[in-house]
Structure formats: C-alpha cells, structure tokens
Symmetry: C2
Subunit: 421 residues, 2 copies
C-alpha cells in the first residue's frame, strides 16, 4: 500500500511556514505499514492541484491532503478532487450546524464563504473537525483512496488520529485488528548508541515492530502491534518493552511520550520531594523547563540565576576566594558547583538543590574552554554529587546539553530515592 | 522564472525529520523573484528520483536539490541528474583535497565511499562546502538550471547564500545588479496589525519590494532591491525603512534580523546599564532568553525564580499580608509585581528590575483566570511601571507572551533612557 502526501498552500511555496504536517503524516503512515514514496507541495491553484493529483494517482494508492479546505476563494482542495473524480460537492449537515452555532454564539453573521467549510464530496465519509470549523473527508474511488485534512496542525493531528486512522484501518487496510503503539523515552544516551544496544532486536523485529520515533532534541522509539483488543496489545508491547528496559535500565525513563521534566515532576510529587536550583550559564533554562509542566509548583520552590560572580557571592554565599585570586578554583569549578547546589538547597529549604556553572561561549572564560561545565546535585541529609561535562558545540548547545544532563542526573537520584521509599 | 525544490532523502519520507530546507529555499527564491510552484520530496531511490526530475523539467526552469550527496550508497542525487542529462561525473580537485586533509588530520583512512562526496557533473560550476565535506554544484543544461545542495541545513544555508545565490544572479537571472535585502524587526505588535498599518505601502510597492518575513514567533518584514552597488541599495532601502519606522516608531526595534534580546543587550551595554529579574510563572524564561545573547553577562547580573509564595516572601521580602489572607491582593497582583521588581532591583543593585507574576494555567489560581499576568519594571531613581496582561492561550502561550511583552516594555524604557543620555 503506497501513499502520497499532498500539502496544499501557497504560504508553503513562499516559505512562510514549514511543512510539519508532512513529517507527522509520514511518521503515522509508516507506523500503519503504508509506504510514502513522494511528498508534494502545491499552491492554491486549481489547475496545478489537479496536475499534482493526477500525478499522485499514477504512483500511489492513498492520497493524503492537508490544507486548502478553509473558507476563502483560495481553498480549492475539495473542488479539485471532486472535479477530477466527476463527483458533486454537497453540504455536510453536522458541519454546517457547527458553523451556524459558532457564528451565532459570537453574534456575527456567517458569510457565504464560510459555508464552504461544510462542503464534502458525494460518497465520502465526512471526518468531523474537533478543533476547527472545516470538515475533512475520506473517500474511496476506484483503486484510490483520498483523505482530506485541514492545514493547521492543531486541527490535522486530532482529525488524523481520531477519524482518518480508524477509517484507514477499517476501510483501506481492512484491518479487523486495530494498531496499538507505545513510545519509549530515553535520556542520558544518544540515538546511535541506543540503536547499537537494540540492534539485534531491531533487525529481528516482527511483531511488535520497533522504529526510531523522531522528536526534536529527544531520543525515543515506537513499538507497534496489531491485536484484537487492548489487553492483547499491551501484553505484546509490554513483553518487548521489558526486554528493552532490561538492556537500558539507566536510560528508559517513560513508556509514553512525555518529556523527562514530566517524569521528574510526577516522581517528586509522589514522593513529596522539593527542589531548587542555582543556575549560572544556563540562565534559568533548568527551572524554566521544569515549570513547563503543570503541577510543578508542588515540587519546584524556585531558585537563583547567579549569572554574575557578585550574585554567587551575595545570594549564595560562595566565598570570594573561591571566585577570585591566583589560586582560586574560579566560578567554573567543582568547588563552586558544590557550594551553589548546597547553598540554594539550604536557602530554599528543599530536598534537592541543583547547580550549573560553566563556559557557554563563545570564547574562553577564566582560561577555561567552551563546553566545560560543572553540574551539582545536593540532597537533604545526603551527599552532593558534582559532574564535570565537556560539551562540544556552540553556546546554545552547551546550555541545552547542560540542562538535559542535569535533569537526567536528577532523575537518576529520584530513582534511587524511590527505591528507599 | 519558475523553480521546483526537490528534497532527497528517505528519512523525510519516513517522517524522521522535518523539511526545513524547503522553507528556507522557498523564501530565498521568492526574494530573488523566482516563483516556486511545486516542492517535491523523494527517497533515496534512483528511479523515483529520475521520475521526480523529469516531472520537474516539464514544469520548472530551475531545479534546486537538497540532500543525497553524502558518502553512502544511498546518495544518488548527482548520479540521477548526470544519467538523465547524459553527462559524466568527475572528481572536483579542491573538494578531494579537502576530503584527503580531513581524514589525514584525524589519522583515519578515507574509504572509497567518502570520495563520492567530491564528485561533480561534467560542465558544472562546483559549489564549495564551507561547513561540510560534500561539494555542491550548479549547472545549466539546455533550458534548465540545476542547483545541488547538501541535506544538512548547516551546510545548505551557507552554500546557498555564498555560492548558489551569486551563481543564480549572474548566470540565470543575468543580473548586472545584485539583490540587496534588509530585514526589519518589530515587537509589541501582531502580524495582521503591522500589515494593516503598512497596507498602502505593500499594495503600491515597486522598488524596493516589501514582503512578510517568516520566522517562528517573530514579526518581521523583508525589503529587497536591486542596485549597482551597496550605497545605492542602502539609499533605496533606508528611504523605505524610514517611512515604515515613522509609522511604527514604538514597534520597530531593529533593521537587521536579530531577536529583541540582542537589541536589549546591546543598548544596555552601550548605556552601561544592568538588569535583574524576579520571575514567578515564567520560571526563568525571561532571564534565560536574555542569556542566549553572548555578552549578556555585562548587563544581566541574575535574579530570582520565586515560583512559590515562600520564595517571594523569603528572598524578595514580599509582605505576607500581600500574599495571604481574605483581603490580600494575592501573588498575582499589581502590588506584588511592583514589590518583586523593586526588591530584586535593590537586592541585585541593578539599574532595572523586572518582574512577572501571573496565572499560567491550566486552571484558576487565587480565583484568578488563566492568562492574567502582571509584569513590572522598576528603575533606579525612577518610577516603577506595572502592566496588566490578559493573555488568551495555553500555559506555554501565557508564559511566552508574558516574556515577550516584558522584554518589549523593557526595550521601550531603554529607548527613553537613551534619549536622556
């Protein structure tokens, strides 16, 4: 089964936005076992759209469209497909009711244009839009299948997940058995090393399948299996998950697609633990990343961004002779990382105290090279750990990697704390 | 002049990465006045690659390729084009020398595969790769022009900017006159409002041209003009820039593509001013964004992430009866924003003190709605300003918009400070 993804929109051709839908759809289709051999982007022009469709009909079984189903004159996706297939457009009643209600609620008159969003092609299965107004559709015609989705990712993703995917599974792949997936997340290990450690499982895979799961700045894999029901699926997925975890016990932090901050916040909330941080070169990045998680207020009290040596001294009692003088270790040192972690922990009265001090670059600092970073973790009634990092990369990389490594190390401490609970 | 962008790589079809090159190239080609009507993504398969090329030859004058020029067996872009054009591949001496040196430096043997990266098509102009090993190329054949670039954006962008663009201008667009661009950056105003205020200039544009310049989370426009030399170009660009600035004096913060943090850091360094921040709901985001800028150490001393009320009281002396009790204004209030800004300024002994306190969500806090945020700016020897924001959106949006608005307001204060200097 071959698919082609056709993204419609002149803003894509002008480079005004990045085509993230193509990446999302490709990943989802691959997980369903559908090969994507071509992706096409075409503008809001009916003739060129039809040209792209004809071309795709020659070389694919499933055509997945994103975009061009809004209210304006330039929204031509459904028209182009209908014309090529010799079918009529009709109004989908539920979609029209939703539109009418939307405008009535706002006391605004619905213009004619807007009604176009409720149009569907005769003979299709309308795909309701849970997060927007334009109705999608799925249609089989001859040897081809057409799925039409809205352009905005926040509308496309739920519609694909909840409407298009089941349709594909039942109508196209004629699956009696639904597809179940599980994402496994890893920290403190790179993609290549992870793959190395699992290479025999990856090479020998049958069911469930194992594939790298792409996500910016994260390391993850996706396990997929078809099963008659969720229990059966979970049994199969868990069997493989357990195998993988046993090889990487110090790196697999979650068996769902959550960032490590989420795992940390949940563990600390469960254990009733609190944390604070003293950050120098990361400038607040560590605390900011923990605070992206709702509920972090229960575990993160706050901390200090001690960007200058003056702040380190004044707010965190770092002795001046640690920072200045011929024989001083300097701000970027084990000694200072240790003091910062312990001091912020005491001042904020938290169970854990974190610290980061390093040379983010560009350019040396204290005659130390870019990428030299010390991260510290202090614990109430426990020992303070300090790690020396040597990070290759630019300022942004050094700060991000320091943050990720510190969070990884905190997670490891929490795993230990959990064992003693 | 029409172009088609062909991105080569199976990882794109599997959804393992997002096609950012297509967006970059589309934007650059549009600025050169070259229309892009189709973008195609094809895998590492020679037959399908040739199919995509033939298709593009029918409908475009310029074919721009990214990817498929690395050292592996799957890197087939140059081979596919050469075969279709009936041309041979030859080794580019400078590229080969560079490869040889790279491997010798590392004391590693260069494998045969690697030598493929120095291949170019007979009759082309090789495009040197400043940030990688694979040489690109530019070639005119019959009525078509072919530009072949490496896949990694860090290699593609410099090669396009420094090698491919001049080639296009001289060989294809046969421009005697180079194209000059200037990016104008705006803050504290949305894209639509900006467009409204400039609509007559946009509608009437001839030379220079005005176009929205897309950048994630930022508001910018690009002015472009062709001129015999840089002075002439600058005269034309500046004339239009001045018109635009005069309509939006409180919003245009730079006439180059820099983030507002960069402008703030430079202004404060020039004026010898320092700043600190007390952040609650943003969790460190404000300070973190300022510290992305090299040189920020001269103006940002640091600050406090007072995520909990305890930290607000303990570290920033916020009176308890501001935070707790029946008639207390609460943590999310003008009063507390004012105290936080003034206290952190005093404690850190900086010229400016910033504060943010708000309800990021999800869910009400202190019976206040999500999106209610107070931002404060205190100044040494000056008045403290507090702004009330009502932000629509999720947790991430509330935090990001609060940060952006606070930085915008700080910039406005610095503009005032500059006038009195």
């Amino acid at each position: 089964m071959k698919a082609e993804i056709i993204a419609v929109g002149t803003e894509l051709l002008l480079g005004q936005i990045v085509n993230t839908n193509a990446q999302y759809l490709s990943q989802e289709l691959a997980a369903l076992g559908i090969d994507v051999y071509f992706q096409t982007v075409v503008g809001d022009n009916k003739e060129r759209l039809k040209q792209a469709i004809r071309q795709a009909q020659e070389r694919a079984d499933v055509l997945v469209f994103s975009g061009g189903i809004g209210p304006t004159q330039d929204d031509l996706t459904k028209d182009a497909i209908a014309e090529l297939l010799g079918r009529e457009l009709r109004t989908d009643r539920p979609a029209m009711d939703k539109l009418t209600e939307f405008f009535a609620d706002r006391g605004v008159e619905m213009t004619e244009n807007n009604k176009r969003q409720a149009l569907v092609i005769d003979g299709c299965a309308p795909l309701p839009n849970a997060t927007g107004l334009a109705v999608g559709l799925a249609l089989s015609d001859g040897e081809h299948h057409y799925i039409v989705l809205p352009g905005p990712p926040s509308e496309l993703k739920p519609m694909f997940e909840n409407e298009a995917k089941p349709w594909l599974l039942h109508q196209v792949l004629t699956e009696e058995m639904p597809l179940y997936s599980r994402i496994l997340k890893f920290a403190g290990i790179g993609e290549s090393t992870l793959e190395d450690k699992l290479i025999d499982l990856i090479d020998a895979q049958t069911d469930p399948t194992i594939a790298p799961y792409a996500k910016e700045g994260e390391v993850a894999i996706r396990l997929s299996t078809k099963a008659a029901n969720i229990q059966e699926a979970n049994n199969k997925l868990t069997a493989l998950e357990v195998q993988i975890q046993s090889r990487l016990p110090e790196h697999m932090y979650a068996s769902e697609d959550v960032p490590i901050e989420d795992t940390i916040v949940k563990m600390m909330a469960d254990l009733g633990l609190t944390v604070s941080a003293a950050e120098s070169c990361t400038g607040g990045m560590v605390m900011e990343s923990l605070t992206t998680i709702p509920g972090s207020a229960s575990m993160l009290k706050g901390g200090i961004v001690c960007y200058s040596n003056e702040m380190k001294e004044k707010m965190l009692n770092v002795p001046r002779d640690y920072l200045e003088g011929e024989n001083a270790p300097g701000a970027v040192s084990r000694e200072v990382a240790e003091v910062l972690a312990e001091q912020v922990r005491m001042i904020a009265d938290t169970d854990f105290g974190l610290s980061v001090t390093g040379v983010a670059g560009p350019g040396y600092s204290e005659r130390k090279p870019v990428g030299l970073v010390y991260i510290g973790i202090a614990e109430r009634g426990g020992a303070t750990e300090v790690f020396e990092l040597r990070i290759k990369g630019n300022r942004d990389t050094v700060r991000k990697r320091s943050t990720k490594t510190l969070l990884y190390r905190l997670w490891r401490r929490l795993v230990e704390a959990e064992k003693q609970h």
